[in-house]
């Protein structure tokens, strides 16, 4: 069928519009990347747009040469690994009983409400802080891992996924003599891979991006994860804690090209993993949110 002129015009304009819109999402990051590889003088003169001017990797040498930055990086890696492992274990384990019908598990609805209520209501910032402090987690890596270990939204996503699996699977494994634990690890967990990858990805990204907990739960900047470290350097320009009297170092970490390099390094892992996992999270979100 031949397309009318108006239709073709629309398709052309639509393509151009969406292309511009997509570039708008990417361009600020490319701009930052270009600044990070430019010389300090070119950057402060405002000459850099989307391509480095007077190319130099100096900013990156600067950043990776600083033990403060590397230590913060290490704290983040620890919290991502520990936090994701613990969270995923809890999510898989908790979602299973909650996915049962009330006829199979009498207290299911009661338990589900205990979890859901925490999304609806919370004690607020100060009591939460006091609790974490009372448990004795302040200034330890566990402060960044344990308080957020139960991710109720992920549990709901996964339990809805479990519920969409064919009932026959569970029945046949029961007939074969498998208990609940075996059914969960051998059948439910492997089959819910798209949902697990989705929740896992969200948890990794959440841990990677968290900065607020580090800021209030760590008295000592040595315990700061990367994002908290960057927050204090780039946003608040709080250089007190570098405990170095070295003015040059402060300037090096806070000048425009170094800031850009630090932002890009922190964004890089995410830039790499999210396109790969895209099809999983789209499928996971759509399937987890549909109930039959």
């Amino acid at each position: 069928m031949k397309k009318s002129l108006g239709r073709r015009l629309f398709l052309g304009c639509n393509f151009v519009f969406l292309a511009l819109l997509s570039c708008l999402c990417l361009m600020p990051i490319i701009h930052i990347l270009a600044i990070s590889f430019s010389s300090g003088t070119a950057a402060s003169a405002g000459k850099v747009v989307l391509w480095p001017v007077e190319f130099t990797p100096a900013a990156y040498q600067n950043v990776f040469g600083k033990p403060e930055y590397l230590r913060a990086f290490w704290v983040t890696i620890q919290r991502v690994v520990l936090g994701t492992a613990i969270s995923m274990f809890l999510t898989i384990l908790t979602a299973y009983p909650l996915s049962k019908e009330s006829s199979q598990f009498g207290m299911r609805t009661f338990y589900a409400w205990i979890f859901v209520f925490t999304i609806l209501f919370n004690g607020g910032l100060i009591p939460w802080y006091m609790t974490v402090k009372a448990v004795g987690l302040i200034d330890t890596i566990w402060a960044l891992v344990l308080p957020g270990a139960v991710q109720v939204f992920n549990i709901i996503l996964l339990l809805n996924f479990y519920r969409n699996l064919p009932k026959e699977l569970e029945e046949s494994s029961k007939i074969d003599g498998a208990g609940h634990f075996t059914t969960l690890w051998r059948i439910y967990a492997p089959l819910s891979l798209p949902a697990l990858v989705t929740t896992g990805l969200f948890t990794i990204v959440w841990h990677w991006n968290s900065w607020f907990d580090g800021m209030i739960l760590m008295n000592h900047p040595d315990g700061y994860p990367l994002q908290t470290f960057l927050q204090s350097i780039i946003i608040k320009m709080d250089l007190r804690f570098l405990k170095s009297q070295d003015i040059e170092l402060m300037q090096k970490l806070s000048d425009r090209t170094s800031k850009a390099a630090q932002i890009f390094v922190a964004a890089f892992p995410i830039l790499v993993i999210y396109p790969v996992l895209q099809r999983f999270f789209i499928k996971g979100i759509v399937m987890g949110s549909v109930k039959e």
């Binding site: 997509s22 930052i32 950057a43 747009v49 009498g106 607020g124 100060i126």
Partner: protein
């Protein structure tokens, strides 16, 4: 009794499985709720939660008399409402336009690009926003300078600040927001389009009379679920972008609680403010879930 033991024998592994999750959630979500007591105390850290003197409603009265409070509440509602509305219109429009693209790989490339900002933290994005909007070296002001506009200090100007919050938030989230609408679009029955074509309807008419009504349930659902967010103006974003000179237009409940509680150590007062917010949010979120259930038969679990 026999029935109960049989049930117990069948169900005990399910109870066991819930113990770790419950333990965490009790310690880190329910124990803090006991701490709400602080809102009625003049909390003294050395005396602890149960040793500090009770002051009744004093913290709440102090809040009512606090000179800036109406401005803070207004800022919160203003920024949050604009975000909700823009955060609904932009993703819906983009989803419909993306759906018009005929080549699958083009569509997927654009989608990948627009999802990106969602996955970056507000710390990094704020770093980028501060750089781009800087009045001295920022690229936006450079471009404005080319057409003869004097540099604007977007993040330091009360005229601009709330709108910059809305625009940058929409920029971060609209791409991710399209996922759910694109899914809704693929669920519309293709025979509706075929039938309307035979009746001579153009693409625009089809969008108006088939696509939009087909998406309506999910649009209503998303709007309803967002009602609970009118008190969430976005702490992560505002905290990283504001400064004392834009408190007038940008200070919101969450940033206020943070400054009072963590920076100024007025624990009782900050807890009282937080408690009021929690209660209002609780009512709004519960109401929105009930509404979503009635309107769209939506259940969270």
């Amino acid at each position: 009794m026999v029935q109960l033991t049989r049930r117990m024998r069948r169900e005990w592994p399910l109870h066991i499985m819930l113990i770790p999750g419950l333990a965490f959630i009790i310690i880190f979500s329910y124990v803090p709720m006991v701490g709400i007591l602080m809102a009625f105390e003049k909390y003294i850290p050395t005396k602890g939660l149960f040793g500090s003197p009770m002051v009744g409603w004093k913290n709440f009265k102090f809040l009512m008399d606090y000179p800036d409070i109406s401005r803070i509440v207004f800022n919160t509602l203003y920024i949050a409402t604009m975000k909700i509305i823009a955060g609904l219109i932009v993703p819906i429009t983009v989803a419909i336009l993306l759906n018009e693209l005929r080549k699958e790989w083009v569509k997927r490339t654009f989608q990948t690009m627009v999802y990106l900002p969602h996955f970056l933290s507000w710390v990094l994005l704020s770093g980028i926003v501060i750089d781009v909007l800087s009045p001295s070296t920022g690229i936006l002001n450079e471009i404005l300078g080319l057409v003869g506009i004097k540099p604007v200090f977007f993040l330091g100007d009360n005229q601009w600040f709330p709108y910059i919050m809305v625009i940058t938030d929409v920029w971060k989230e609209f791409g991710f927001g399209t996922i759910i609408y694109l899914a809704a679009l693929t669920n519309i029955n293709p025979s509706l389009y075929e039938a309307s074509e035979i009746d001579g309807a153009g693409r625009w008419k089809q969008t108006l009379h088939i696509t939009l009504p087909g998406m309506m349930p999910i649009i209503v659902l998303m709007l309803t679920l967002n009602i609970g967010n009118v008190l969430n103006a976005g702490f992560d974003q505002i905290f990283n972008l504001y400064s004392p000179q834009v408190y007038e237009s940008g200070d919101v409940i969450d940033t206020f609680v943070y400054r009072m509680g963590i920076e100024q150590a007025q624990y009782g007062f900050a807890t009282a403010v937080g408690l009021l917010k929690s209660i209002v949010s609780f009512i709004l979120i519960s109401a929105s879930y009930v509404l979503a259930y009635r309107v769209a038969n939506y259940r969270i679990f």
